[in-house]
Symmetry: C2
């Protein structure tokens, strides 16, 4: 038993890395660099940008998976599917078992509060969690692909290290967002709840050259949640937000009331 | 005030109908028929099947919205986007305000337990709920497009009526599934929690005519949740399952433990 323990302790953790911005994005490159310091890394990520894909899966089309050599000394595959497909294929066809950790990101743009619902980055992490894998999604509140990732990288390492050491409660994962401030001004880590915020849509209506209308989705992010225990509060005040997330969507508190509706 | 109340009470509720199987599916036709008995109906649904789209939204492509005349005396539009896009466009561009109810379905196939995560049907209803609209998603555990919808239709009416009358708790919606039994054998409605179940993937690996591998997503649904208070239990025992759902994904119970990780 002691030997087995020792062996297990000395084994490098196996880490599956994915994202939704695509395998060539700077965010996943930064994430791979950090994870190489913590364990053995395998990358399975989309071959094209998949932002806003939510928890989409590919049912009606076949999936492609190609080995690529774009990260130094790292086994990597690009997949034709969604971020969730990448996790499913990575686990079933590449790793053929469970990695010790699955990390997704670093997303170029926020996945705080309600954004998690639309996020391919977080859905990939959630898929891993559903499969019983310790999982974390990382996002940076700066959309620029040449943004300075020094701050996010520092905290990615600290957070992943803590999660590898301590694990996560059953059926949960972490949604981590980094504030858009200079790395020296990040105030630390805040564990918080998802703010009750939303997007107010305004579709941009245009006319194509043939005189037919079309629409672009635009909108304004609105946070009316006054709590100082939310991810929005933390990010606004220069903290890294860490929200533990679950995939049991049951509104348990609502069951007694609804129970009376059809009696 | 009394007059206003009277007026409001006599006004027919405005009901937005959508789905993920596409606007020509039998399930949405059945749903429209029932909703016409309860209020004024507007349909905005995908112009092609969108199963498994989860909460995907269309960011990088323009959206099309075309008026179609396929339901008797019902204003209807087909949309080139995802189910969530349909709700966003329906609210912002067609209704230009909030309907009294948004219903999604009747989906051809189950959206019970973990299936809710991948479901376009439920994501459409969730999008409506995020926008503050009373919302319900309906799904039938029979994939056949010629399945007998007598039982589901009866319960759709009863459930929608109850929800229009009583409303729903803030920031919740309902996930309703119908068992695949003869309508005379449906035992009634059970309000329950989401079962902790999952899909165990097995990708079907094939070779294309040019000798390149490709994969089809397949899998086996596995429910190891022994509870008799779950949707899976209810459906297996011939009940209609009603699960109140929330879009606050915070695992509140996990916050204290995770708070100690980086201290």
């Amino acid at each position: 038993m002691a030997t087995a323990k020792k062996k297990s302790a000395s084994r490098k953790p196996l880490i599956l890395v994915t994202n939704d911005d695509g395998i060539t994005s700077p965010g996943i490159r930064a994430l791979v660099e950090v994870m190489k310091e913590l364990g053995k890394v395998i990358v399975v990520a989309p071959d094209s940008p998949q932002s806003g894909m939510g928890h989409a899966i590919t049912i009606d089309d076949p999936l492609r998976l190609e080995s690529v050599d774009i990260f130094e000394n790292v086994e990597a595959y690009q997949c034709s599917g969604t971020p969730v497909d990448c996790v499913k294929l990575g686990v079933d066809k590449i790793i053929k078992g469970k990695p010790d950790l699955c990390v997704s990101g670093i997303n170029h743009g926020s996945n705080s509060s309600i954004n998690i619902i639309y996020s391919g980055t977080m859905s990939a992490a959630m898929e891993a969690a559903i499969e019983g894998i310790t999982a974390v999604g990382f996002s940076f509140l700066n959309y620029a692909h040449d943004a300075d990732l020094t701050g996010p990288k520092k905290y990615v390492k600290e957070i992943a290290h803590g999660v590898l050491k301590n694990g996560l409660p059953t059926n949960t994962l972490l949604n981590v967002n980094f504030p858009d401030v200079h790395h020296k001004n990040i105030k630390g880590i805040r564990v918080c709840r998802q703010a009750t915020a939303k997007w107010e849509e305004e579709f941009n209506e245009r006319m194509d050259p043939r005189g037919r209308k079309y629409y672009w989705l635009t909108g304004k992010f609105v946070n009316r949640d006054p709590g100082d225990d939310t991810d929005e509060w933390a990010l606004k005040h220069g903290f890294v937000s860490v929200v533990p997330i679950q995939f049991d969507l049951t509104a348990h508190h609502a069951i007694p009331r609804i129970n009376n509706y059809w009696k």
